[in-house]
Assembly symmetry: C2
Homo-oligomer: 423 residues x 2
């Protein structure tokens, strides 16, 4: 083995990476839509794991282990004394999702560790790649499952009550079937300080890089996610005989509120806010809606903006209640704070971007990621690549080979910088 130095350039194997991306895309491929169905606990989830294990062990020479929540770990250089640098992403998908989300993060970790191994250089830290269990929203009503268990945000008790909302299958059964050990789930929990750093690659899922025709960006912060469930209580009544002044139409009130919520994004460009789910009661064409409930999903990395936006919303809600003689009830559903990435680790990504002669760019991630959980345990950074048209969670998801290759090289460079700079 040789020592790494700034003079020695290790390059990733672009063709191997793209070949594996194609191969991995066969697991869960929906032939009708071209999308990927690789949800937590599916046969495709299990098949992908077997394929990954084979490559990790046979092609890359890693030691593969599976923890109690079925996260897959592949380690390299265990003999070294320092604490490992961990990197990876997830291999599951949303229903009819894309080929890149998660998968490319796992493949990039594999490419980086194999390039390092191929080069014969000696790193200062052991390297461990990870493919997380159940990162995507799924029918078990849990997301970033694997990393939440690692950092202690979810416990054995929490997951013991979860079932597939379609089939009734217990989550614990799915975890065990995938190779985990749900009865010992807490054994997967990691203490702070067991790693040197964590790095995740992900496609941006938005259009910011695509608009500037840039390939990569460092993530500065992962958005906070705040959710409310709003219930509007009006009065169901006859669609013909109820005059305008007697109507207490819950859907018209909801419409006003939806537009006020959309307007938040004009006042605060740091905020993304969405009404995605709505239920109307009784939902009959000839009855004025008496009750409407809907969700608000509000994301920002700037809690001060959120505070101001919610104060404005409160005023609007009071005005709508008064004007329409209806009652609006708010219930907090989720309040997940924003998570800043580690400064040193982000700077390592920025240096690697510079090294590959890419324009410097830092972005807030407006989607949640396993990295947000890992940041509770160790110095964490993320690298984004361009998403063409910003498509995400759909078959049209795409990152071109050129951008994939640039991202993979920056990713490898970042790892080597982290290896060199961190204790």
């Amino acid at each position: 083995m040789i020592e790494i130095s700034d003079n020695k350039k290790i390059t990733i194997n672009k063709d191997r990476l793209l070949f594996r991306l194609e191969e991995m895309s066969q697991f869960g491929l929906n032939k009708k839509t071209g999308g990927i169905d690789r949800q937590l606990g599916s046969q495709a989830d299990k098949d992908t794991r077997r394929w990954l294990k084979d490559i990790w062990e046979k092609d890359i020479g890693l030691k593969v282990t599976v923890d109690a929540v079925a996260n897959m770990w592949g380690s390299y250089g265990e003999h070294l004394k320092n604490k490992p640098i961990v990197f990876g992403s997830h291999h599951d998908s949303v229903p009819n999702g894309g080929k890149f989300d998660g998968a490319l993060g796992v493949l990039m970790a594999m490419e980086a560790i194999q390039s390092i191994s191929d080069s014969g250089i000696k790193t200062r830290h052991p390297l461990e790649i990870i493919s997380f269990t159940g990162e995507e929203p799924n029918s078990f009503s849990v997301s970033t499952l694997g990393s939440k268990i690692l950092c202690g945000r979810l416990t054995k008790k929490d997951i013991s009550i979860l079932h597939d909302r379609n089939t009734g299958r217990p989550l614990t059964e799915a975890i065990d079937w995938l190779g985990g050990n749900s009865s010992q789930i807490d054994s997967a929990v990691l203490e702070k300080g067991t790693m040197t750093a964590f790095l995740e690659f992900h496609i941006e899922q938005g259009q910011r890089l695509y608009r500037k025709q840039q390939a990569v960006a460092a993530v500065s912060c992962i958005t906070g996610i705040y959710r409310e469930i709003i219930s509007i209580k009006g009065e169901a009544n006859h669609a013909g005989t109820t005059q305008l002044q007697d109507r207490r139409d819950a859907l018209c009130a909801a419409s006003e509120l939806c537009l006020a919520i959309e307007h938040i994004m004009e006042d605060f460009t740091s905020i993304a806010v969405t009404v995605g789910h709505m239920q109307i009661i009784p939902n009959a064409s000839n009855i004025i809606p008496g009750e409407v409930s809907f969700t608000i999903d509000l994301r920002t990395a700037f809690p001060e903006d959120r505070k101001k936006a919610l104060a404005k919303l409160k005023e609007r809600i009071a005005a709508i209640e008064k004007k329409r003689d209806i009652k609006i009830i708010r219930r907090l559903n989720l309040d997940q704070p924003e998570m800043s990435m580690d400064e040193t680790a982000v700077e390592a990504v920025m240096k690697a971007i510079e090294k590959e002669a890419q324009p410097p760019m830092k972005l807030v991630s407006m989607a949640g990621h396993d990295a947000a959980n890992m940041a509770r345990l160790t110095k964490t950074a993320m690298l984004f690549s361009q998403s063409v048209n910003g498509y995400s969670h759909c078959p049209q998801e795409y990152t071109a080979p050129r951008e994939v290759a640039i991202a993979a090289q920056v990713y490898l460079d970042t790892l080597l910088i982290l290896d060199k700079e961190l204790v």
Copy 2:
């Protein structure tokens, strides 16, 4: 028998009417809500028919027949040469409906015919009371079933394809079970000119009489009902990563359109318009809605107003499509024209109102009624009584005994005027 003259005052038996109203309210009584569950084809529907038949035959002395669609007919004075005056309403209810809707119209017809019979006077026309089959919206997706068959708006073929959307039971099976003969359904069809007139009593279901603290009104016209199904095609996308300028949110577009539709009622006071049913796709809290469809129910007795309102709506739709880069598809679902009541028959109601010293009032009915179908066959009029708070299709539906009695007397007077004035 004696001849009727203006000098002879026949009065209804208020106590008998109110007693029967209480008795009839036991059929389908929902003990939890106090509402009435007497939907088409239910056991309560059948039980009510048996109770009605008993009273019609034994207490009033009518000849009872059931036609092929299971409408119940009770006739008096068949020996007379003139064509009969027909009057009545329906005995079915919406789920968890009120005690008055339909039922009071049947009971008032019974009270009128019994008062006439008790008085010993001789009418010029045979009298026939009717309780229609399936007037209310129901799970067979048909309303005013009995009268639609009578006037030929529905045929055997039309009803042969209808099934209970919850249980799959064929409508023909329900009709036969209630005493009809679905295989001979067309035998129930009536030609124009087989009756002298038709009169229906109904509660107003709105607040116009209640606001003025008046008891009764003549109906001048039954509203036209126009329904569209609107489909908005936007683009489903990630709730976090999709910036405002990239959103094509179908629910925000629907919200704007709902408010524009509500605004129609400010521009045109003759119009009642409602968005009662809405469906959101994919309807997940973290996905921007890609598709929304909803119903428009627009009612007016003034087709010119409807035309102007729809022209304005078209402009608004085009503006929303352009502004939001979405597609809005409109589909006509129902276009039932308004139906004016017969002038002579309405004047008979107005004279009866005057006779009972009630303030004169004519109203447009904003709900559909069997009378709208009967108006295709004969000179038709309707009498409304006050609905307290306008409550309708709910357990709170109420008309006070005083107003019931006034309405019953005006109703009886109207019949006698029609009997006297019409050939």
